[in-house]
Symmetry: C2
């Protein structure tokens, strides 16, 4: 790829050795730090140049009206957009009288390293000012995974060859000017100056800003403190204004002499707490951070991550790029979800403003399958967030004339923010995706406290939605008409197979859990009749099938539609949604992202092997992957039906989505679901892992480019390590006593500390497939 930064291929870090100011935005996303509560884009310490300045707090948004040329009943009136909160990253440097700014002078050397084991973003740069004065800057930055409200920076500036007068201005900046938004509808609407000042103050080496969002009425506080090590010629001042708090330190540095500044920043926000309360909250957190100190924060971060990697690492041998990419993915998904704690995990995490900062089905369908097996507490918290939003989802269902809960297609708070209902509200599968994630979480953790409270209620309310959304037709089939499945190049279709199969699973799971906790279910008004009506609907669920072609139509009638003119669609016309009207896409056979194929991945038991092969081949030829949510699923099914090389190709596409900026929009934030999809492609794809009624099964097989794959999975009290080579697989239990799994359908009881090794049968070569012209994934013939 041209036009993206070059990163060195290293197993445990992401290293940039040159800086290209034209593609700064992408580097800010991949070098973003966060903990699920705070997100800091990888902006340069001095604030500019930047692609997009960004500091985010999970749940902090501004409301904006959603306009309609022709409004309809039930169209959401208010949207929600993530906003850039007070920027605590800024440390400006004056070298003699020249501002340190990479757009002027000369960069003599540059390096930024994101270390997945330390969790630090380090930067080293040697710069010559326009007047020929040279400085070295070394900064380290962290957003603490242990202290949720805390971020910190260690900043050092050194005079290289002449004595220098340096001034550091360390700031909190609110309402930063943002670059203008692009015309691409996927890019978030940019809101200007959303923060209304409430309070500002400064004290020795520190400062504080409190603001409130104008419409959504959220109170946001940021505080900072500093610790300085410097030559004696020191001079310190503090000052504060409505949108600026500043700590200024001045020093004269002899050649080789360094000024070292530690900056502690804390954040807090609340919808209900008073200004003094929120202020006290950030000042309290600040006291804790200062007490811990920089080295202490660094140590805590390392300890947290050591534990994480011990539980979660994925080892890939034979393809160093994939090895790096999967650790990059694990690290960033951890950052997105680790400390979200009853808040959403947005599609971009807290790394950018793409998709307005909204959370979608991405979380439950792509991110939680990974978090459930490596950071189960974070998966549980994400579902607790959905649970907390049930009142809004019930109200939305009521507005739509439905029972139960209608979860939003896109949201920050839980309120529906989709302004185009055919590809928003109509995508009711989000309900089943949430239900499936809850069932999966309970299956993996055995968390019965969760199951009988959060899980039960989520299942009841989603089952009620399906029961009221579908109906029995004259032939007794349970139909779900007029909804939109995962593929966004179709909409408002009858009996989408993915939706119907997921709804079936939802209804059966709800019935099972409601019967398991019948007393509690009765408290929610669920009696035996209602449970029976769920089982009945599930049993009668209509799954259309095209007997002539011998494939499942994605939805009823799909296979009768005209084929998209793939041959007549040149490469520059992708993504299609930016060059063709929805009307044209919806009525033809063209698939944006895995839909029927995702149904086969998640509800595999509903298809025969023969159907899987035929369906996969049919949809391969139609799927253009204009969504980043497609490649990982295609990797999973390619592996299952025996296209191992293709599975590897799709794995690489998912893995390199952001590192290679494959969708050309990483500048707006990372594709968190595709990052998680890297793990899914390896674990559900190459290791062939499936979960069915709480039991894990594996059908591992590696493509030729990968010689060894080892994954670690948390299961109940156990940790299962699965290590795969070309010819064998070894299952090993690291905690816990015993676990029954399936290896290529053979039951195996894995016991602690007794690795079990099994051979892997060769798979016969599958018949060749084709993708739409120009849309085949890059062949991964020569991995590095």
């Amino acid at each position: 790829m041209i036009g993206h930064p070059f990163y060195a291929v290293e197993p445990w870090s992401l290293r940039e050795t040159e800086i290209d100011l034209d593609v700064l935005g992408q580097s800010e996303s991949v070098f973003a730090l966060g903990n699920g509560h705070i997100g800091w884009r990888g902006n340069l310490d001095e604030g500019e140049p930047h692609g997009l300045p960004g500091a985010y707090l999970n749940g902090v948004y501004e409301s904006r009206p959603l306009p309609y040329a022709e409004a309809g009943y039930g169209d959401p009136e208010a949207g929600q957009t993530v906003i850039n909160v007070t920027n605590g990253k800024v440390i400006r440097l004056l070298v003699d009288d020249a501002p340190f700014d990479l757009r002027y002078g000369r960069v003599l050397d540059h390096e930024r390293v994101l270390d997945f084991r330390t969790g630090l973003l380090e930067r080293r740069v040697t710069w010559e000012s326009p007047m020929g004065k040279r400085v070295k800057v070394h900064s380290s930055r962290l957003v603490s995974l242990v202290q949720r409200s805390v971020a910190a920076i260690c900043y050092e500036v050194e005079a290289v060859d002449t004595e220098l007068w340096v001034v550091l201005q360390s700031e909190l900046v609110a309402n930063e000017a943002l670059p203008d938004g692009a015309a691409d509808p996927r890019v978030a609407a940019v809101l200007k100056a959303p923060l209304v000042p409430e309070e500002n103050s400064s004290r020795t080496a520190g400062g504080l800003l409190v603001h409130r969002t104008a419409v959504s009425g959220l109170r946001i506080a940021a505080a900072m403190d500093h610790h300085i090590q410097a030559p004696p010629s020191l001079n310190e001042t503090v000052e504060s204004f409505e949108d600026l708090a500043r700590y200024t330190v001045t020093a004269v540095l002899k050649p080789g002499e360094r000024l070292r500044l530690i900056k502690y920043v804390t954040y807090g926000w609340s919808q209900v707490r008073s200004e003094p309360a929120v202020r006290a909250q950030v000042e309290g957190a600040l006291a804790g951070a200062v007490r811990t100190g920089w080295e202490g924060l660094v140590d805590q971060q390392r300890t947290y991550l050591d534990d994480f990697w011990a539980r979660a690492d994925v080892e890939v041998e034979g393809d160093a790029e994939i090895q790096q990419a999967v650790r990059f993915a694990l690290f960033h998904v951890l950052q997105a979800g680790a400390r979200a704690e009853h808040r959403a995990i947005p599609a971009k995490g807290l790394t950018g403003t793409g998709y307005d900062g909204h959370a979608f089905w991405d979380t439950e369908t792509f991110v939680l399958p990974m978090l459930t097996y490596i950071v189960p507490q974070a998966a549980g918290d994400a579902l607790r967030w959905r649970y907390d939003t049930l009142p809004l989802a019930k109200e939305r269902a009521r507005q739509l004339g439905l029972k139960g809960a209608a979860f939003p297609w896109r949201t920050i708070t839980g309120a529906e923010c989709s302004g185009y209902w055919p590809a928003g509200t109509a995508a009711f599968h989000i309900d089943a995706d949430i239900a499936a994630a809850a069932v999966r979480y309970v299956g993996a953790t055995g968390d019965t406290d969760f199951e009988k409270t959060i899980g039960l209620e989520l299942l009841i309310q989603t089952a009620r939605l399906w029961r009221s959304l579908g109906h029995h037709d004259g032939q007794g089939r349970f139909r779900i008409d007029g909804v939109t499945g995962p593929d966004e190049y179709s909409a408002i279709a009858d009996n989408n197979v993915y939706t119907n199969l997921m709804a079936q699973h939802n209804l059966v799971s709800a019935a099972t859990v409601a019967e398991r906790y019948s007393d509690r279910a009765l408290e929610s008004g669920v009696d035996a009749e209602e449970v029976a009506s769920w089982r009945d609907a599930a049993a009668a669920m209509y799954i259309p099938y095209d007997d002539v072609l011998g494939v499942h139509p994605q939805a009823e009638g799909f296979t009768s539609h005209e084929m998209w003119d793939f041959a007549g669609t040149p490469p520059e016309k992708y993504p299609l949604l930016l060059h063709f009207p929805y009307f044209d896409l919806y009525r033809k056979q063209v698939v944006k992202q895995a839909d029927l194929v995702l149904a086969m991945a998640l509800r595999g038991e509903a298809f025969t092997d023969e159907q899987k092969s035929r369906n996969f081949a049919y949809y391969e030829a139609l799927t253009v992957r204009d969504s980043s949510l497609s490649a990982c699923t295609q990797a999973v099914m390619a592996a299952e039906v025996g296209h191992l090389q293709l599975a590897g190709d799709y794995l690489a596409e998912a893995a390199l989505m952001d590192l290679d900026d494959l969708q050309h929009n990483t500048r707006d934030g990372l594709h968190v679901a595709s990052l998680a999809g890297t793990w899914v492609a390896l674990v559900a794809g190459l290791a062939g892992m499936r979960e069915h009624e709480g039991t894990l099964s594996f059908k591992p097989r590696l493509p030729s480019g990968i010689t060894r794959l080892a994954v670690n999975l948390s299961l109940h009290a156990s940790r299962l390590r699965v290590e795969i080579t070309a010819n064998t697989v070894t299952y090993q239990l690291q905690d816990g006593s015993s676990l029954r799994i399936l290896h290529h359908d053979e039951p195996i009881d894995v016991t602690a500390d007794t690795p079990i090794t099994r051979p892997i049968a060769r798979i016969p070569p599958a018949p060749p497939l084709h993708q739409p012209p120009g849309r085949a994934p890059l062949r991964r013939d020569a991995p590095q």
Copy 2:
């Protein structure tokens, strides 16, 4: 109905004898005057109080951005909204020092009469000022059907019982303040102060204003002149400002003495002509109007209308309300279309701002079937307007990836202005509706000059659209997927029967006419291969049928959808679109307006009698008539399948739509298509008229409430009079030599001046039908 003005039932006029200021808006619509070029709402002479002030010029609009919460490729960016142009109606009156204003003082008597034969709106009022001074005002107003740019008012004020000082201020007013728009999305967006002043001037007894619209850049001029007859104590002044020109006359009136003012107003507008040119245009027209004089204008109007009624009158005996309503309808449809001359006939005519002043398929499907047989020149002109917009429609087709022309769902200039594509752009049937109107026009007029130019090109471009929109499936059927039919409670469905049948007719007609004028067709690139491909697609057109239920689904799959919960829908939840989301409406069996039933009315030969009866009964139970475009079509098919009483009920609903304000929005303008539908319900319904390949057929039968129905139809050089009683029908040719028609399928050659009378066979009573609960039409048991 409560809350609408009461009108006396009279055969040739609409008379209001009380004024209710709360429902002034409706009266302004029904008393509107126009000629297709100028439209003046029936505002009170003194300007206020008003429901909505309104002066419109056909084609004059302002552009406005169409906002989208989530925009898609091909969404129109600019909307068009009809604007209130310079108001030339205003004549303010000062009685001593009290302004004549019905909100103050006392109205002692009031009458307004719209006379369908004179074309005058007359008003008589006696008013007592708050100071107890009484005046009589008598005004007459016309918008000339003969002099297209001219309107005029004769205004008289008389002192009743004391000597009075009166001041008349006759004005041109631009950028009038308008009432705030309602939340109902069907109400037009109201634009404030859209006119930018360019020129104003005054001269003896006259004045002129020239403005330009800010964004659309249209230049609009209005001029006025006056002629006064008064006592000698006269004092006249003129003045002009940017948005106001005023002629003021002062007089002292003794009891019984009258001041009489004639006001001439002319309008002109242009997108390209210079300010001096447009100014000269209105001043020239003004000179002509003054030369003609008030009495001359009145005489011209009467002569024009005498001719119109001789050709177009419909006589209804036995139901005086229907008699009045059909003449009201004929008069207003004439006003909407008479002098439109290469401009659109909007859904509201020029009577209000409803639907933004846009034209829809209403014109071709409801209005032109009437105009074609009574004012064929106006029907031809409406189609010439479509022809003139072909460049825009071709460009739209190209943008949508289609061939030929994609006519806009809603527009003023011909550019698509629909901001919700599922119920806009996807309603491609507009193309076939236009084609059918062109074929009908040629069949009725024999206008071969039109056929080989306008008609041929319209047919070619619409046929090309269908050929590129549909495709042959694996079974060789020609399918049209993902489009929206007439029923707006369904959208984006496959193989809508109405659409497919109308497209079939379009393709066959295009092939026939292209073969008839093959040299000219070749100039448009149409060769024998292309014509063959049209015939082939038409022959293979897929018309879905539900074998189990024995009915046609409105679109593929429709009859498998869940039934709307009609029993659970209380009356206050209608119209459904204001109380339920589209997602819910689209996926269930509920019909806003005749769709499959319209297909049976317009393509009757494609259905057996048995199918018609079964289909009609099936859709009667689903159709809620939330659209004013439904009742007339249901009247037509009710009559055909033998439900004569029901046909009469639907006829009355169509006929009284505006007079009884049945949709509660007549204030926004008249329902021109429903007015035309009154004629359609009588002629295609009760007289059973159909046109097939140029031949008219009749199957007349009257419901019990109507004892005689006589209609007059223009056909080629002939005029056919059809007079129906309970037991007989008489066909009479009034010009021309001979005409072959079908009477209950029996061919009859009607010759000039030899009436032919035939008996009407009794029809066996049809099995009872039912409509959704609460949605049956009012029974017309006791007509007046």
